[in-house]
Symmetry: C2
Subunit: 102 residues, 2 copies
DNA sequence: CTTATATGTCGAAATATTTGGTTATGAAGT
DNA sequence: ACTTCATAACCAAATATTTCGACATATAAG
């Protein structure tokens, strides 16, 4: 039994937490699945296909962005979002690596 | 833009949700990191290294078990838990595969 | 400079999760 | 059968998250 993690988790796992929390919500999964390969979508487009209000979508987009699942850039009046594949992959690989040691 | 997921997510993603929600919580991460390779731990041992009450630990163990992150078996008076590597890996691979199409 | 549009932020209500005490269940020992 | 021990289930309180409308900001258009 490993007692090292009684009170905390390694720093790397804090980032993993965010990614996993972000992907653990069905509304956020639906937002992600809306993106076609390489596509960038603005908030209005995402709201359009969502069943949630604009501010709820904005809230979920923020969680996804802070977690590093999405990246965003403002172009004119619009804010475009796209998938941060690299960062999501890193979180998945980290857990895969942990599994391999088990 | 893919509009297929406006109201629901593919069935496979529902299982993924559970695994990701389970792994997105720091208390549950700490429980997982307590397991050494191949080890089986009973509830008492996990409570012992946790900062939470017995009933809170039991609650988190149930979430981990229902999500398929842990498996359990009652032996005598004790219930032993161990990592369900196969199931966690499947969820991770499913998301990895999604990333590859993106 | 005023107006319209896109998005973010705030605050309060609704909802969900977490927590720990108490009670119930089930297995083992006496 | 009675007691003890380990754990699960139940329940209510505490806490966190989600939600949406109202307001704020920023950019562009007229």
């Amino acid at each position: 039994m490993n007692r090292d993690y009684t009170k905390a988790v390694p720093a790397a796992w804090k980032n993993i937490s965010q990614v996993f929390t972000a992907l653990g919500d069905e509304h956020r999964q639906r937002i992600l699945l809306t993106f076609e390969p390489g596509e960038r979508l603005n908030v209005g487009q995402i709201v359009e296909v969502s069943t949630l209000s604009r501010s709820a979508v904005s809230h979920h987009l923020k969680i996804l962005r802070v977690a590093g699942v999405l990246e965003s850039e403002k172009i004119g009046k619009e804010v475009y979002f796209w998938l941060n594949k690299k960062n999501v992959k890193e979180a998945l690989v980290a857990v895969m690596d942990y599994l391999k040691t088990q």
